[in-house]
């Protein structure tokens, strides 16, 4: 049993454990008290940060990490857009990097870049929306999961969020998405775990004060007033502004590079002291059906510009993290909803495809190329796609286990299944506990359970609903749906007819709600 579990299960209110922590008496503090919760946190808590870079549109992985081993097949499939072998930036001799990505090549040479070949999943989807949802939710291709993998992770690490947040032990947003609205990636089983971003409080605006102008009318006057209050009351605006202002000097980033602009803000906030675990940034334009390359010089063109920007931005970000002294704390990855077709089309472009390489980067990654170069058919047709070697959920699982320090059992609840772990990040230094701050309103025991489990919930009085929902968001059963006086109650959930897997117990008590993940096992 883990130490924190021992403490949680065995400390009734008012017991004296005088020598527990530096002789600090914790008499009179029950397990629910804030001070007790903070004492239950281990001394060394990980401060690891994970940065997700979404390349929207379906990045052509085959022109980004080019198979040198199968070069003739590659040229045959893409006579109008192939990158000449002599232009490729060498990696391990089996694959070469697009010539625009010099920055990433230098990181590779320093062991700060892992290239994972042919990442995908069974029965791939070729729809932008669907494939994006699959990547963000980490679902099987034929299943709909209505929460994001990082959202489920954050729901595990901060089980009581948002009740009682922000608080003394977590003053900051759990996750921040920059330059866009919160994505499915950060959606928890019931509530969004990312910072809620609206126009008046979105990131650039928060720091730079930019927004649609208010007209010079009575309506404009009232709008200005509401915006002022919105800025004053955005739950995290103060800590974010403070963090942004804490970082006074950064390395220079490439200009006219929106990914670089976003990563610059991420570096600024990490250095500025936010405890935020997950950052998500987005860079679009990869849907290169036509004019992917310059027909006179295939190493130039739209895709080359995009890849150059990605490479320059990540390189500047990594340099900045070192300059700021926080490189030890940060790992990032790129992903796109799919790669593109092996065979190019007639308009110097590529159509939607399937598996593709992705990058994991940072000082603590295990640098190198993982997996074989994709094996291409000698004469590829429009029906041919790259088979996947690694399930993308193996990448997530590895990050969760080895970088964000999630234990095996919890990992299965977050990822909904077991996945192979990959040698991408060193597992050293993983010591941490979940953050039990905030108000715990619902829990269950035992968990995992085989047939039934007891759900304990706390209501502030009035109408109270306890329901069990599955990972698609469908209601399995309403266990409790009536008026209560304030207090703590239990209800038994008999899950014996249900398939094994993850379910969520959800409490709704007027304006409050909270969910708990429950794992049904054989």
């Amino acid at each position: 049993m883990k130490r924190r579990d021992f403490l949680r299960r065995s400390v009734p209110a008012g017991v004296v454990l005088p020598s527990l922590i530096s002789g600090f008496s914790i008499r009179a503090f029950g397990a629910d008290s804030d001070i007790m919760k903070s004492l239950l946190l281990p001394v060394t808590e990980t401060d690891h940060v994970f940065v997700i870079i979404q390349l929207s549109g379906g990045n052509d992985g085959l022109n980004m990490v080019v198979p040198i081993e199968n070069f003739n097949s590659y040229v045959n499939a893409r006579p109008n857009i192939f990158i000449p072998e002599k232009s490729l930036l060498p990696l391990n001799g089996k694959v070469g990097l697009h010539p625009a990505m010099t920055g990433l090549q230098s990181m590779y040479d320093k062991g700060e870049l892992a290239v994972v070949n042919s990442v995908g999943y069974p029965q791939p989807s070729f729809s932008h929306f669907r494939a994006t949802d699959i990547w963000m939710s980490a679902s099987d291709s034929d299943k709909v999961v209505n929460s994001g993998w990082a959202g489920r992770y954050l729901n595990y690490e901060y089980p009581n969020f948002p009740n009682g947040y922000p608080n003394a032990t977590m003053t900051d947003p759990l996750a921040i998405q920059i330059g866009s609205t919160a994505s499915l990636t950060l959606q928890g089983p019931a509530v969004g775990m990312g910072m809620s971003i609206s126009n008046t409080s979105n990131f650039y605006n928060l720091i730079n004060g930019v927004e649609d102008p208010a007209p010079d009318t009575p309506a404009g006057k009232e709008l200005t007033y509401i915006r002022l209050i919105a800025q004053q009351t955005q739950a995290y605006s103060t800590v974010i502004k403070a963090a942004a202002n804490n970082t006074v000097q950064q390395v220079s980033y490439p200009i006219k590079n929106s990914l670089g602009d976003q990563l610059k803000i991420v570096a600024r906030l990490i250095k500025g002291g936010l405890q935020t675990r997950i950052y998500m940034v987005n860079y679009g334009g990869f849907d290169t059906h036509s004019s992917q390359v310059d027909s006179m010089d295939t190493t130039k063109g739209n895709h080359a510009t995009l890849l150059g920007n990605v490479s320059d931005a990540i390189k500047a970000f990594q340099d900045d993290l070192k300059f700021l002294g926080v490189a030890d704390r940060v790992v990032g990855m790129t992903f796109s909803e799919f790669g593109r077709r092996i065979k190019s089309n007639g308009s110097d472009g590529t159509d939607h495809g399937s598996a593709a390489p992705l990058f994991v980067f940072g000082k603590n990654v295990i640098g190198g190329v993982l997996g074989d170069a994709p094996l291409l058919p000698t004469n590829a047709t429009v029906d041919d796609n790259i088979p996947f070697q690694y399930d993308f959920r193996s990448v997530y699982s590895t990050i969760l286990a080895n970088w964000l320090c999630v234990n095996d059992l919890d990992l299965q609840q977050i990822m909904l299944k077991n996945f192979q772990l990959l040698p991408l990040v060193n597992a050293g230094g993983c010591k941490k506990a979940v953050n039990l701050s905030g108000d715990m309103l619902i829990s269950n025991y035992p968990n995992p359970f085989t047939s039934s489990t007891v759900i304990t919930f706390t209501t502030a009085g009035g109408h109270t609903l306890i329901q069990v929902i599955d990972t698609t968001g469908r209601v399995v059963v309403n266990l409790v749906d009536k008026e209560y006086t304030a207090g703590t109650y239990t209800v038994v959930f008999d899950g014996s007819p249900l398939a094994t897997g993850v379910y969520y117990a959800r409490l709704q008590n007027l304006a409050r709600q909270q969910v708990r993940a429950m794992l049904k096992v054989r």
Binding site: S56, F129, P218, G220, Y225, Q508
Partner: protein
Amino acid sequence: MDRRSFLLSNIPSSSKVPALVVPAPPPNGRLGAYAGTWTENEVIHLLKRTLFGATKADIDYFKTRTFQQSVDEILNPTAPLPDPPVKEYATPVNATTPDTNISQGSSWALDPNTDGTVNSLRIASFKKWWMGVMINQERSIREKMTLFWHNHFSTETNVISNAQFVFKHHLLLRTYALGNFKALVRAVTIDPGMLVYLNGERNTKNAPDENYGRELQELFCCGKGPDSLYTEADVKAAAQVLTGWTNNADTISSSFDIKRHDTTNKQFSAFYNNTVIQGKNSATAGDEELDAFLDMIFSTQEVAKYVCRRLYRWFVYYDIDSTVEANIISPLADIMRNNNYEIQPVLNVLLKSEHFFDVLARGCQIKSPVDLTVNMCREFNVVFQPAGDYASNYGLYNYLVNSVANMQQDIGDPPDVSGWKAYYQAPQFYEMWINSDTLPKRNQFTDTMIQSGYTFNGKRMIVDGAAFAKTLSNPGDPNQLIDDILKIIFRIDISETSKTQVKTDILLGGQTTDYYWTDAWNTYISTPSNLSNTTIVTNRLRDLLKYFMDLAEYQLA
């Protein structure tokens, strides 16, 4: 509760926000008939101000009518008054008088009962019912006017604490919503609920209580304008006129008792032309003196001006400068007097005026919590249960009642006899609704309603973005979709840059080609059973509406 003792007690949290002084010109134009265009834009403005929200169906309906027909229809409700609230609570077994005589689903409104528990359950039932009536309102101004009168003749259920009186009082406001103001004042004066609330039932010749006599002049009729010069002696004299009225909880009515009435003559000040109300000594003395007293009050110039200012702040904007006073309030008050205090002719002129439709008059109201909530349910066509399932509906309405109370507008229980501060507290007025406590609550409320909804009795109410989108002109076109949504829910448009960003980020999932949304939408329409595609569409619409409702623009009407 006595207003003064309230003011001496707690300062509510809403008063913490400092006033933001940004000069803005009040609307232009006078009371002359509006002669501009009658497009969706004007229809929506009229609907947002006179109903709770502008539904797509109502917009379409009034677009096929002329401007005159539309205002006329809104000002002439045809539907009968709603059925009274019903019993949906369990009979409290410990009550001294358990109301087992009233079956579930039957109305308790005419059943006398003075048990505290029964009354608290009935008052809760009344509030739920009222929320439902507002949500299910017809195409008329009646609900906005009923709430207007509740704010004007502010009473608190927790003071009246007799549910039958509470409902009777409410029914009075609803019945007279578009009627004669003088007749309404007369009815309110001897209404059992008001006699409890402002101590009229305890106002006797031996122990006069000035509470109602004061507020009748200060808050209900004359106001505190610079020309409202009634005196403290007038307050005392008014109290004397009004002595002798008592309540009977068994018959749910009030009556006059000459033995408790002050039969002396009552002398009023120069403000009232030194009028003397002759003391009467008959069984009808109360009625006779009350009529003489109201004739005296309503012969002053102030009453019409005061009520017109109240109506102006309810329907147009709060800023009444000297130009608005001269061009709008004063002539409107003349119309009110010339029409013997009928409300409807006044609204008829105001709502058809060029001033009301001036561009500066549009979008400048901050939604009250009730407006925000009922508006959201109506504009997004939130589905409730069939009328027969009143038990589920009352439970769902109860969540909304709690929500508006949480946002500082507890229907049935305004803060005090002055009503909600948003309609009288200079210089902030409507801005009183928005502060560091209530704005996050508003966002949390709309977030909840679009994300998880609220479930009661196993029945869920939720803002269904896809069902809403289906009612719009061309939801497969992401640009048209955003324009159509914003036309209904916003009064200040956002920039094209912002629209493009929102479209790209949310509807296109980062793509640049509109086709991707169009394709997903068309698949959703043709094959709703395609769960993954349906999830894509519904999640994106959910995120889109959530984003819009979290913008400051959504708080305006």
